[in-house]
Every structure is written in structure tokens, then in C-alpha cells.
Symmetry: C2
Amino acid sequence: VSSRGEKFGEGSRGPCEFARRLLAEWRRLGWDTRGGRAVVAVSGGADSTALLLALEELKRAGLLEVELTAAHLNHGLRGESAEGDARFAESLAREHGFEFFSARADVGRRASESGDNLEQAARRARYEFLSEAARRAGASAVLTGHTLDDQAETILLRLLRGSGSEGLSGMRPERRLEEGTGVLLRRPLLEWARRADTEGYCRARGVESRADEMNDDERFARVRVRRSLLPLLESFNPRAAESLARAAGLLREESDALELFAARLLEDARAEGDKKLSRPDAESEMPDSPSSPAGAAEAPGAWALRVEVLNAAHAAVRRRALRLWVARGRGDLRRISLAHVSAVERLLAGERGGRVSELPGGARVERRKGLLTFCRQEGS
Amino acid sequence: VSSRGEKFGEGSRGPCEFARRLLAEWRRLGWDTRGGRAVVAVSGGADSTALLLALEELKRAGLLEVELTAAHLNHGLRGESAEGDARFAESLAREHGFEFFSARADVGRRASESGDNLEQAARRARYEFLSEAARRAGASAVLTGHTLDDQAETILLRLLRGSGSEGLSGMRPERRLEEGTGVLLRRPLLEWARRADTEGYCRARGVESRADEMNDDERFARVRVRRSLLPLLESFNPRAAESLARAAGLLREESDALELFAARLLEDARAEGDKKLSRPDAESEMPDSPSSPAGAAEAPGAWALRVEVLNAAHAAVRRRALRLWVARGRGDLRRISLAHVSAVERLLAGERGGRVSELPGGARVERRKGLLTFCRQEGS
């Protein structure tokens, strides 16, 4: 049963449908309803406003005991109207008794300085801000209002780019906010709420949400996907967005399985010397701390790999394993495309292929004596 | 370099671009250029006409030595205009010196009798006809003119239905025409030729192809996808069809890897009794023919499975393994949906779940004493 079209706000009968579904999703995902602190990212648009209001409703009803801090970033892309968003987010938060953080970024300048496009620069600025907000609030999670519509749009955008299964898996309802931190990014609306649901709930709560800063800007392909592509898909199948999200869920599960097999392949392909250096059963003359013994690969996990073991594996698993290995070696996959991974793969082809493959950012992979070795450049 | 816009038919310089790309693809797929016999499915539309003409051009140039038989099925959906298609296909084939088979089906009646929709009934009728044509011609392969456009349409249709990675893998350039036969279905245009290429090549050869019987019928979702959805996607990314095909190729490779892991899981989960009965190292008192020993599962490959082994596997691999197991048990996956596989999966959840799951067509799966058993109904 969808919450769309339902009458909301009949408070005496307990939380309304939208808040109840949020709580059901919260439990389904195994998140603690009793304790903890989270930051709620509030743009002022219907999605994040509905999320904050529904969390407030659940807290008021005693069904959720999580301390919340609202946080708003002005991306510096819309001038005065964005300042209105910030004021709206602040008064919404304070009115409902939440702590509030805000900041202002200059995404346009960041984009032109970094070479990122506006969407990438905006996302990066937002994640930095949210990490900082979580740190200041002492929160273990950041909650965002991404909906099923956002998920469908993401999948379509990635499909248009020709992504593989990892891209087409879409967003996850939970992941780490940043590599190497303990803060989680959680999206409790992602797998069920349509934009019509969040708008309906805001109306039912008598709150006039703001047009989200990023949601009307036709410079963003996402906005064009939302306005023309998704409606056309829904003319074929009224549940097209749900179908896309379902496909993404299936792909995500398969992608996770392949990632597991890829990690096992890296273990199986690990060269003998590297095994001795860092395995628990290492020989006694080895140093106690296995983190940086002489002769081991410099980056944790990017040990030398035996070419023959890689060549015996299934191509899809091998490709993922190499991608994972490069990520471990470099620390991340920024600017690494399928073409770079394919180039590393071609090193495996034997004498006919090259022996060295350069990666963006000054790392390289070498094949010698039946081994594939990851080399970080000095100082990189 | 695309062949679109190029001048064709400058015969004295050897085969033109379209035919050369066909030959390159033929070799890339590892198909024999010297010998063998194939049936070419010819609807009379630009795609299959271009395929037949390009094969003829390669044969004439001595670059391909494969015996060809053209085959045309009248689906019985368009009356006189379809008869024109049949005459066109026949004269095209005979004019170029090919053997020709044709037949007429009544797809409308078949659809209403079987409960299939028109597309399903048409596909089934076509495959039966092509199998019969291959048998009569003594051919080991059937060639069809499916293009990259068809591939993109297929992926979009499956995405609209919420398919998982197997569905989103799209069509394969080569597969068995029917389960259990040796005849291959081959699609040498699938991975590179756009519809504009086939139309351009027909024009360059001075052949006016027919509007394909199935290509203008708005009863088919595929036709609507072709006319509105794909053009909109191309307004976002002019290479959207190529992006879709690329995504499908990556998913196909991953899907194949998972299928391999699924088959291994079925081996690992095989109950001890079943292992003894059909493994090469079976005990000496066992009968020589392991195909139907007393007490073994009735269907080859659908042996009893140990629940604990299945439960220890990754969900995505387990689901595929169960699907494969059900396919082995029933002989095919007709009318089996994800919901049926999920129901079988729920049997694994222990005492709280049910103990029996019914499948369409009178088979069922039972859980008892830590084993999952496939049971075929008597007479089914």
C-alpha cells in the first residue's frame, strides 16, 4: 500500500503511514532505534524535509530514541534563494528542537579549480561538510533523504554512461561516508519512498518545503533525466522506478558476491614471498609487526600477484580483483577507469603485451618473472 | 569509424565497409570461415536483408566459404503485406543463388490458444521454424540479423520489467537455438551494426528492403521503445545504444562467472548419497551406468542438496544455484519467476518457513532432514 493519496496528520492515531514506513525500513536495515546520534542532511527540499519531520514524529511518539542534529550546506550556486533555503532549514530544525549546523561552500570555484564538474564538486563539498558535522556532533551516522526516484535517476545516468554492474547497482541504503572513517551514510528513504510521498507528507504536516537548490538546474543531467526520461519510462510501466530499483538491488547483491570472489582471488594469487611476510604463520625470524617489512609491497593489500593464477580465473572475477588491488595500492580509485584496469589486464597476456602500465597519479603496475607488481611513485 | 554515411558498392575495391566489419566480427567470435552450412533468417527487413547481402558479398569475394540457406517465416499477422515479404525474401534469396525455405504460421491463433502474448508466440513459432529449417538444410547454425539497436531495445525492455543481471545481459552473439540441440543461434550484427548501417548497406546495394512485419506494430512494446525511448536516450548521449550494449556485455561476463560459481555450489552442496551414485570414483558395487540408479534424483543434476552448505553461500550465488537446479529438475525455466526461486530459498530459512514449495507445471521442492529435494510429479 502506497502512502500517496492517503490523509496524513491524524495525530491521535499514532504516527502516520509515511513515518511508519520509515520506522519499518529503519528496523529492516537493522539500525538501532534506541540510542546513538545521527546528523540529518537537510537541503530544504521535500525529501530531506520529510525525512526530518518523520524522524521528529517517530521521536515524539517514543518509537525512535536517536539524538539528531540537522545540517545544511549552502553550495553557493544560487545566491539569495540559497540563503532562503539555509534560513528555512535552520528554522525547521530549531522549531522541532534539533541542534543545527550550517556552512557555505563555493562549489563553482571549487569546480573550476579542481577540474571536477559542478555535480562532482557539489558532492565532494557536501560530503566534506557532512563528515565535519558528524565529527562535531559526535554522530556515528549521517542520514540523507535520497528517495527511490533518486535511485532510478542514478541508475539511468549510469546506464547512459555504459557502467558495469557496480555502477548499475545504484546507491546503497548504507555505506561508509568516507573511506577509512567509521561514520556511516544512511539513506532510509532510498528503497521505498517516491518523491510524491515526501511531498505529500510535507503537505500533510503543513510545511511548505523549498525547491531544492540542485533540483531545478538544467545544467545537471540528473534534472533532465527526472523531467523527461523517467516520465517516459513510467508511460511504459507505471512502476518503472520500482523496476529500476529492483534491478539495482539484484545487481548489488551479485556485485557483492563477485567482490568476495575477487578478494579470494587476490589471496590465492598472492606471491609466496609476500605470503611469508604478513601471514600469521610467518617464520619466526620475521619481524613482529607485519605492516611494513622490508621487501613487501608498499601499500597494504597490494602485494605481488602470480600471473598464472590470475590467468586461470574467470575474466569477470579477475577484472574485479585487479580493480580491488589497484584501489588498495593507490588508496582509492579516483580517475581510474575501466580502460586503466583493462590495460593492467593486458599485461597478463604474456610476452606480446607490454610490461608496464602507468596509472593516473603516478603509480604503475609491472609484470616481471611471472609476477604482477604494484609500484607507487616516490612521494605520491 | 562508422560505416554510416560512407559510399558503398564501389565493388572493384573489394568488399565494402559493412561486409568487412561483418567478416571481422565473424573472426572475432571464432567462427569458421571455411566450411559448414548455416541458415540465414530473412524477414525482408533491412537488418536481415543486409546480413544476407553482405554474406553474399563475402562469399563472392572468396572470403567466406559457408553454404547458406535463406529461410522466411510468415507470422500470419499482416495478411497480403506479409505475403509480399515472403515473395521479396524468396526472390532476394534465389537471385543471389541461395536455397530458400519458407513457411506460414498463425501466430494470432497460437497466442490465444497458448496464453502467450503475441511477441512470445511469434518468437516461439519462429524458433520452431528455424530449427526445422536447420534440420532440413543440415545446417549447424542459424544466423539472424539482430543489431545493436535490437540489443539496446531488449535491455531497455528488460530494465522496465525489473530483470536482474541475467536479463540485463541482453542477447548473446552466440547460443544454442534450443535446449538440447546442437544447432547454434548466431547474431553477427549484434555487437556493432546500427539500424542505420543496415539500411545504408541495402541502399548501397540498390535493394529496397521491406518494412519488417513486426517492426511497425505498435501493439509491441519493442516498437514503442524504438520510436520514443531510444531517441530520447540518444538526446542525452548520442552513443546511448552503444553504452547499453557495453553495460550488457559487462553484465554478461559477470553473469557467466556467477553461473560457474553456482554450478560449483551445487556440486559442493550435493548430498553424500547422491555423490556416491554418480561420481566417477563411485564404489565398485554401483552400476556402471550412473544415469538413473535407484534412489537418485529423477532428473539429471537435480540431486538432493544439503541445506547447511546452501545457507553458508553468498545469497546471490545461492539464488543462481537454486535457479540452475530447478532448471535441471524441470528441463527448463518456463513460467519460473524470481518469486518461485525466492519461495524455494525461503525453505532454507529453517523451521519457521514452510517445508514444501510448489512450482508451475507440477514439480515441487521439499526440505526434510537437512536436505532440499526436487520432486517431479508423476507423468509431468
